[in-house]
């Protein structure tokens, strides 16, 4: 128990001056945090960036076996019109054995159309496999050249450093041949 120049000693052992020190420190810390927040938050995506949120795509010109790339929120989105073979392979895979287990039906509600965000879940490169001349990896889907991630015909990670499957963006069918992404 100490007695300071601040005067009366509090019953629990701290003086009024100790209380004032702590109160001042806490108020200062909260005030500083409130002042710093705008400085940090200004770096988050601005309103005009957030506004560019959805993209509509007409699927009718895409023939079976063909892929197209569209842009959504600045990211490439892969849309693949899958062949019967590819669908059979994708649906036949044993889900439990995958690194990021997900069935093909969860990823492609209408099996002939696969819609994926074309960004490798490792460090963000764009995987190859959209052009017919591209390498498509050991599972015939996509191959990321940056650090060697292989994705299957459902866009699921099979080999390499990527931790997760290629993301399926939120999208809905406007009618049989048009989708809206985002």
């Amino acid at each position: 128990m100490t007695t300071t120049a601040g005067g009366a000693v509090h019953a629990e052992g701290g003086s009024r001056r100790d209380f004032l020190y702590v109160a001042t420190g806490v108020a200062g810390a909260i005030g500083t945090a409130l002042a710093v927040w705008p400085l940090i938050d200004q770096m988050n995506p601005a309103q005009d960036v957030l506004a560019l949120a959805s993209t509509e795509v007409d699927l009718s010109p895409i023939v079976e076996g063909q892929s197209i790339t569209v842009v959504w929120r600045g990211k490439p989105v892969f849309i693949r019109h899958r062949t019967a073979d590819e669908i059979a392979t994708a649906q036949g895979d044993k889900v439990e054995e995958l690194r990021d287990p997900q069935s093909d039906a969860e990823r492609a509600p209408r099996a002939e159309w696969l819609v994926l965000v074309g960004v490798c879940t490792h460090l963000g490169c764009i995987p190859l496999g959209q052009k017919s001349t591209d390498p498509r990896g050991d599972w015939g889907g996509w191959f990321c050249p940056c650090h060697g991630s292989h994705y299957d015909v459902s866009g699921r990670i099979r080999k390499g450093p990527a931790p997760r499957n290629l993301e399926v963006p939120p999208y809905e069918y406007l009618d049989d041949t048009r989708i809206k992404i985002g």
């Binding site: 770096m43 960036v49 600045g74 960004v119 460090l123 963000g124 764009i126 450093p161």
Partner: protein, 410 residues
């Protein structure tokens, strides 16, 4: 004026010195009033060279900034304009780009000099830490500078490096969007990198001041690693080491000029002359050479989060070196076992650098993993154990002793 012991016959200097003892300060740091060890060899040139390289970067950077336009639609063209239309622009840009490489080469040698001569040991731990802080900020600055020309390599380097933060559990994605100012790397990312690329070199200059202050407090190490004991062990910094440092700067400038005038693009990548394309990754992306050893460590670990953690650990371990090295003898000259392991570490880091530039396939993956493991073995096992078991050679009684003995004998 008197407290620095500085004397001048000039009335003007005296007038200033009485009010602001700045001449005395300079005299104590790099002048006659600094009794430097008499045995410093050429490895001691690299500190002043690093400072000189920083000045070159700041001077060329400030003039480049007069022409550079930090915007996703204009950055690439503005750099091409610097190369083609701005008077002397090509020279300034090549000096800045190759100057960055020279800066790293100098700082790497400076760091390895410290590791060889035990310059991180008591009482220079904080000096060592401040140096590592400078090194970290240099890596950040150079990375952000490399993004500015907004070519393919710029864009994809920015993408891959910022995505390292997405490995952080739970908060990762929010942090990356915060860094980008969008959902991908884009113009908002470029402008903030430009702001920070301009700022950080001046923060580095501030930490250099602290580094020199700590250096001055206990003075520098020397090749024998023993303390200065009498004035016989020293020479006044000026004119002896000012001249030697100037000579070093001359050699440095010749080498820089050879790069700038004969091989200006040798250390860059041709893909960076293709404008950034967010929809296509170049087939083989590699960082600049000075980051390759760390890139190799990142890729050696077959897990995303694990790779990031181990790469960060590769730098953290350098901060612990003053305590991991258990030997009380500083210089490797008197440490026969340590000396051999030191050179093994140098080779290991060179191997990592080589692996970092290769595609992660086949044998390269295995070599990369072994070299990464050895890097940590060196610091976490070899350093403490060798300190315990090694019997150091006898230390000379003073810095002057071997010199004076040789003179007497010869």
């Amino acid at each position: 004026m008197q407290h620095t012991g500085f004397q001048s016959s000039s009335r003007f200097v005296q007038w200033i010195e009485y009010r602001l003892p700045i001449f005395g300060l300079v005299d104590q740091y790099v002048g006659r009033a600094y009794p430097a060890p008499r045995n410093l060899n050429y490895w001691w040139n690299f500190g002043s060279l690093a400072g000189f390289a920083l000045v070159i970067q700041i001077v060329t950077g400030i003039v480049l900034a007069m022409h550079y336009v930090p915007h996703g639609d204009m950055a690439f063209d503005s750099v091409e304009r610097i190369m083609r239309d701005v008077n002397q622009g090509w020279l300034l840009r090549y000096l800045h780009a190759n100057g960055a490489s020279m800066f790293f080469a100098v700082v790497y040698i400076h760091i390895f000099r410290g590791l060889y001569y035990g310059s991180y040991k008591f009482p220079r731990e904080l000096l060592w830490w401040l140096g590592l802080v400078i090194f970290l900020m240099m890596m950040a600055t150079a990375f952000m500078g490399y993004v500015l020309p907004w070519g393919q390599m710029s864009f994809w380097a920015a993408t891959v490096i910022t995505n390292l933060f997405s490995a952080i559990p739970w908060a990762g994605p929010a942090i990356t969007e915060w860094l980008w100012g969008g959902f991908v790397v884009g113009s908002p990312t470029l402008t903030r990198f430009y702001s920070l690329h301009y700022l950080l070199p001046f923060v580095i200059a501030g930490v250099v001041v602290l580094h020199l202050w700590a250096h001055h407090t206990h003075k520098g190490n020397n090749p024998l690693g023993i303390d200065v004991k009498s004035p016989k062990d020293t020479l006044p910094f000026h004119p002896y080491y000012t001249t030697k440092d100037l000579y070093g700067i001359g050699v440095f400038l010749i080498i820089l000029a050879i790069w700038v005038f004969y091989f200006p693009n040798y250390m860059s990548h041709p893909d960076n002359y293709i404008p950034a394309n967010p929809l296509q990754t170049p087939p083989h992306i590699v960082p600049e050479w000075y980051l390759l050893p760390f890139y190799a460590i990142l890729r050696a670990i077959p897990s995303k989060l694990g790779g990031v953690i181990v790469m960060a650990a590769a730098i953290v371990v350098l901060f612990l070196v003053p305590w991991l090295d258990t030997s009380r003898v500083r210089s490797a000259r008197f440490r026969p076992i340590f000396k051999q392991f030191y050179w093994l570490l140098v080779i290991d880091v060179l191997v990592l650098g080589y692996i970092g530039a290769q595609l992660p396939e086949g044998i390269f993956i295995h070599i990369g993993r072994i070299a990464t493991a050895y890097y940590f073995v060196h610091f976490l096992i070899v350093l403490p154990v060798v300190g315990w078991i090694e019997k150091p050679k006898p230390l000379p009684k003073s810095i002057a002793e071997p010199v004076l003995e040789a003179k007497a004998a010869g």
